[in-house]
């Protein structure tokens, strides 16, 4: 793409950066918007069927497929309301920050060997750093709403996300050590051997990979505020948590952020544990061919969506924990377990090095 712009249209470097950024932004925004719609519809259908009901059935005909589109239109047309006594600047800025961070983390996701906005060398650090900025947006929303329930939700979010960053980061160290890279693309590339089945969970370190994946997934649930860790927005305690006072498109931004973050966590899990974009038999196809790219993207999105589906499944199955139990779990169980696994992984790598494998 960049070569095309530079060589054929004769763009200067600064123009290239701007145009490239714009195109990436539009692509990511479109992807996230569609993704959020699909995920919401999926959540309602899956939740419905788990709860012996049908979920949306009317809009659009076949199983209410257009329900999310109709809802988005409704949200777009709703009145843009700012509550009385709110800190207007914070109130209006918060959804923007939350949405911006969610979108910018998508920059490093390797959808296929060729399709990635930027192959950042410290990719996973970038994701962790940017996604924790979401918390600031949420705290701004909670503080700016002039509502005590919102403030409680925001404070819980801050406490919870800050404490679960540790196990999340630590659990990601295992694949990082195994592949010796922070880049999601390099990790995915390393897993495309064995006809596309050389995934981390099938590797020689599978006995570290599988527990670390569960730890990662638990921390990811807390990080994305999903049940059983959905304390920032507990419906039955805090009304709706930090977005109680939001409506219309601002509220929809929070909603989109949640699903974008869920997909992001699924994508990270996919890229590091489940082989990224690799699929069985990928080496049989010519790398870079159209079919190869399409199947890679399909494989990556499908795996990420499957993890998202598990998150939905967990949500409709479990009750939620109390804040002290969440903290206990994070600090007393997940973090020590992650540390033990980090040592085990390091020991295994050293053992392999010493044995000359």
């Amino acid at each position: 793409m960049i070569e095309f712009l530079r060589d054929l249209l004769g763009f200067e470097t600064w123009l290239l950066v701007i145009v490239g950024a714009l195109i990436s932004f539009l692509a990511i925004f479109g992807f996230v918007a569609v993704l959020a719609m699909v995920a919401v519809w999926l959540e309602r259908k899956v939740g419905g069927h788990i709860q012996v009901r049908l979920g949306p059935m009317r809009v659009g005909g076949w199983h209410g497929w257009a329900q999310s589109i109709a809802d988005s239109l409704k949200l777009l047309m709703k009145e843009d309301m700012v509550v009385l006594g709110a800190d207007r600047v914070l109130f209006k800025l918060a959804p923007a920050i939350v949405m911006a961070t969610a979108l910018s983390t998508f920059v490093v996701l390797p959808f296929s060997p060729d399709l990635q906005v930027a192959d950042v060398d410290l990719g996973i650090f970038f994701v962790l750093a940017i996604s924790s900025i979401t918390t600031i947006g949420v705290v701004m929303a909670g503080w700016g709403s002039n509502n005590k329930w919102s403030l409680y939700g925001a404070m819980r979010e801050a406490a919870q996300v800050a404490s679960y960053e540790i196990p999340l980061g630590l659990s990601l160290m295992m694949p990082v050590m195994y592949y010796g890279t922070f880049s999601l693309k390099a990790a995915s590339d390393a897993q495309s051997g064995w006809y596309g089945m050389q995934w981390y969970i099938f590797s020689d370190a599978f006995w570290i990979a599988i527990p670390s994946f569960f730890l990662f997934f638990t921390a990811a649930l807390a990080e994305t505020k999903r049940t059983p860790f959905d304390l920032p927005e507990t419906e039955s305690e805090l009304v709706a948590g930090f977005h109680t006072e939001y409506s219309g498109m601002r509220w929809a931004f929070f909603f989109m952020e949640e699903y974008a973050a869920m997909f992001l966590m699924g994508a990270i899990g996919t890229a590091f544990w489940l082989g990224g974009y690799s699929f069985p038999g990928m080496n049989l196809l010519e790398a870079g061919s159209f079919l190869h790219t399409v199947l890679c993207i399909g494989s990556f999105v499908t795996k990420s969506m499957l993890l998202l589906l598990v998150m939905i499944w967990v949500r409709w199955t479990l009750p939620r924990l109390r804040i002290d139990q969440v903290m206990t779990m994070g600090y007393k169980y997940l973090t020590p377990l992650c540390l033990i696994l980090v040592f085990m992984a390091a020991g295994w790598e050293y053992f392999k090095f010493a044995m000359g494998w």
């Binding site: 709860q51 012996v52 009750p319 939620r320 804040i323």
Partner: protein
């Protein structure tokens, strides 16, 4: 935290450093935050308003404000005649209208010195016990929602739907039945209705196990309810609680057992008591435990009713539409799903009662809530209020 009394009592840190052996005091003055929980709050089960004081996540004070659903039911009882008042009783505890009807009907019958025919009594027992099951299904289901588990509620609603269909068949209504009347019941069961009841009792045990596995054995549910909101047996008695709240604390008191009415002496059932199954005696888990097992006992009673029921009249011949009981005063209390629901009626010998007083279990059970909340976490407020299982229609009347 050692708080300074004045709001802006700023001390330079040096002052404290020069006081050896003393507790460290924070020079940021903090104040407990006051939060309004309700009257429009998802966890207060209606229009209860609880004024909470909280230090962070820890509650330091609570005060219940009632009356948002006050409809002067008792006063209405003193201005309409006896049969006309019956539909108002449906509206106290709208989840257990049959029980409300029964309590009122028994009080009026006691006032008049009559007794309903035997078949009517059997039908009453069946509908009342089925209604108890339906009410407990909602109670436990919504309790799950309070704790974040949405799915069990829908499973329970599925079985409640069967019960509501049965009630609809027998009296035409799904929520406010007005089926049990002074002197008997509205009409006999339609053909095949008792078979429908039998069908329900046949499938219920299996479904019950589903709820038990899904909710009561869930580790997170146990973590959230066990050892939370403990009511000691002494407290439970002192605050005048009744029903599952009282029995959850291990007190053996069931109006059906201790003060039997209708045919309850004949039936073989148990008054389920809490036993600290997963935590302390009288915690939130025990109250849910009692409700769960009460459903089993209720179904047991219904099975016995189905065996014992005979053909016959369903309405006392002398009790018609215009009642004129002799002067006197009576109290008749029954075991409602939420506790002892009693009607105290004073009659002057006229068509209209001179005094109508309702002893509602939710109101008495609610009185202990604001004493349980301080010291708990904010999230426990939802767990505790939900475990007491209030229906605001009955609390405010």
């Amino acid at each position: 935290m050692n708080q300074k009394s004045a709001l802006h009592n700023f001390h330079p840190a040096g002052d404290f450093a020069s006081l050896p052996g003393q507790e460290v005091e924070f020079d940021i003055s903090t104040k407990d935050v006051e939060i309004n929980m309700g009257p429009q709050h998802p966890a207060t089960h209606g229009v209860l308003r609880v004024l909470l004081k909280a230090n962070g996540e820890i509650l330091t004070g609570a005060q219940c404000h009632l009356g948002y659903l006050h409809r002067s039911a008792e006063k209405i009882g003193e201005s309409v005649d006896y049969v006309q008042y019956l539909p108002y009783t449906d509206r106290y505890d709208y989840l257990a209208s049959m029980n409300n009807n029964l309590s009122y009907a028994l009080a009026v019958e006691k006032l008049m010195g009559v007794e309903a025919p035997e078949r009517a009594q059997y039908l009453r027992t069946i509908v009342v016990e089925l209604n108890r099951v339906a009410s407990h299904l909602v109670a436990i289901g919504t309790y799950g929602i309070d704790l974040g588990a949405f799915t069990p509620f829908f499973y329970m609603i599925r079985e409640r739907e069967m019960l509501l269909d049965l009630f609809e068949k027998i009296c035409g209504a799904r929520l406010t039945y007005t089926y049990i009347r002074p002197g008997g019941v509205m009409n006999d069961a339609p053909p095949g209705w008792l078979d429908g009841v039998k069908e329900f009792t046949d499938i219920f045990d299996e479904k019950w196990c589903e709820y038990w596995d899904l909710l009561m054995e869930n580790k997170i549910f146990i973590e959230r309810t066990a050892n939370v909101g403990v009511i000691t047996p002494e407290q439970a008695i002192a605050w005048g609680t009744s029903g599952p709240v009282l029995r959850g604390s291990g007190v053996d008191w069931d109006v059906r057992k201790n003060n039997p009415y209708m045919l309850y002496e004949q039936f073989d059932f148990e008054a389920v008591k809490g036993c600290g199954y997963k935590g302390t005696l009288g915690d939130c888990y025990d109250r849910s435990f009692v409700r769960m097992y009460e459903m089993v006992e209720s179904v047991k009673i219904v099975r016995q009713c189905l065996e014992g029921i005979q053909e016959g009249e369903v309405q006392h011949a002398e009790v018609g539409h215009a009642l004129k009981p002799a002067p006197g005063e009576v109290y008749a209390g029954i075991e409602n799903p939420r506790g002892e629901l009693g009607h105290y009626i004073v009659s002057n010998g006229e068509k209209i009662a001179n005094r109508m007083r309702v002893r509602s279990p939710s109101y008495c059970n609610l009185s202990i809530v604001e004493h349980m909340l301080p010291g708990c976490m904010l999230a426990d407020a939802a767990a505790i209020i939900g475990s007491v299982d209030i229906v605001m229609g009955e609390t405010d009347r």
